[in-house]
Symmetry: C2
Subunit: 242 residues, 2 copies
Amino acid sequence: MTATDLEQRLRAIGAARYHDKHPFHTLLHGGGCSPDQVRAWVINRYYYQSRIPMKDAAFLSRCDDPALRRRWRSRIEDHDGTDTSEGGLERWLRLADAVGLDRAYVASTRGVLPATRFAVDAYVRYVRDMPFLQAVAASLTELFAPAIHANRIAGLFEHYDFADQRSMSYFQHRLTEAPKDVAFGLAWVLANADTPEKADMACDALVFKTDVLWAQLDALSAAYVDPGRIPPGAWQPGEGLA
Amino acid sequence: MTATDLEQRLRAIGAARYHDKHPFHTLLHGGGCSPDQVRAWVINRYYYQSRIPMKDAAFLSRCDDPALRRRWRSRIEDHDGTDTSEGGLERWLRLADAVGLDRAYVASTRGVLPATRFAVDAYVRYVRDMPFLQAVAASLTELFAPAIHANRIAGLFEHYDFADQRSMSYFQHRLTEAPKDVAFGLAWVLANADTPEKADMACDALVFKTDVLWAQLDALSAAYVDPGRIPPGAWQPGEGLA
């Protein structure tokens, strides 16, 4: 088992299970979503975005290597911002503005599907509680993110009036942020998963993370697309508008 | 705000949000489920059952009142069994036998929907981590369980060949176990939620728990009923048969 073998296994997991295969993304990127379906996606995906810096803080809280912490810390800055950059959460709220949502409603995370919370919270806890190698390996879905972001940018610009440089800036930034993070994360996993057992653990972590992403789209689809049954207490079209 | 007011609020939450309102149960109890849909329910619901004693152990692990621990401990015995009673998990596996599943497959929890795991694990962690009052109050969905169990027993006996005294014994036992537990739990919550803030916390806990139950049925329905899209890695009809 070489590092190359492990990298191939990890990439095969993405090819089979990453959420770019989910029909909701086909619908979204192809222009098939109604304004309310786009809003439901923006509201629920915000919950995931909002927990990413908390996940990365949980990671830092258990990392005893200053060099690794320094390297990882930029993930928090990418989402929460710095003195000179507004950060991904602010950019996502600009997308919320553009689709007609009240950004305070979106930021409150009221109306988020319970299933979205359960999946995302499971990810934060995974990174906090599981073996350190797996906390790193779970982040490797970023290997597959630039392709979906590029498709999304092209599809949204083509099909939706709300898409402009301002509302799409979250995705534009992720095109450069994600590869930087994942190149480091992949190299770290390949260097540290140096037994067959550890390689299996790394693969399991990536499978877990693809489940987290897939489950969010399944819940979104069931609630707002097909069969379109909104669970008690979740966002109803018409709520939370600007 | 009196104890009677709080009890009315708790019962209203059940009336609005308990999973007896979910269309999957209408389908199941009315005889509309295919054998594979029943199997998917048995497989996924087993995961919930299997985590209940772990949830109750988490509760005991933070309870510093010996009298309350003694009282609560019977919940673990009800599921895991004693020298003289086989317990609820064994009874559930008998149901698995009756619907043609390999009980070792079911007990392995392989093939369980990721969304089921996320929801159920969220419940175990809630009871471990949240304020103690809420750990108790989350159990109060048992207030509404005897009615659904009685409907289920009647519906399954009427519509499905696998239903007999042996396969239905899990539900028969819950008819007497759940009321015993919940009478105590309700009295405890009503006595201890003695401020408006605590009453709100108890209601929030019950809302959370109804979300946990509802999300499981939403995931089951989306995967195996409508639209019937099975997530990567989850049970496929034909797998795990006896």
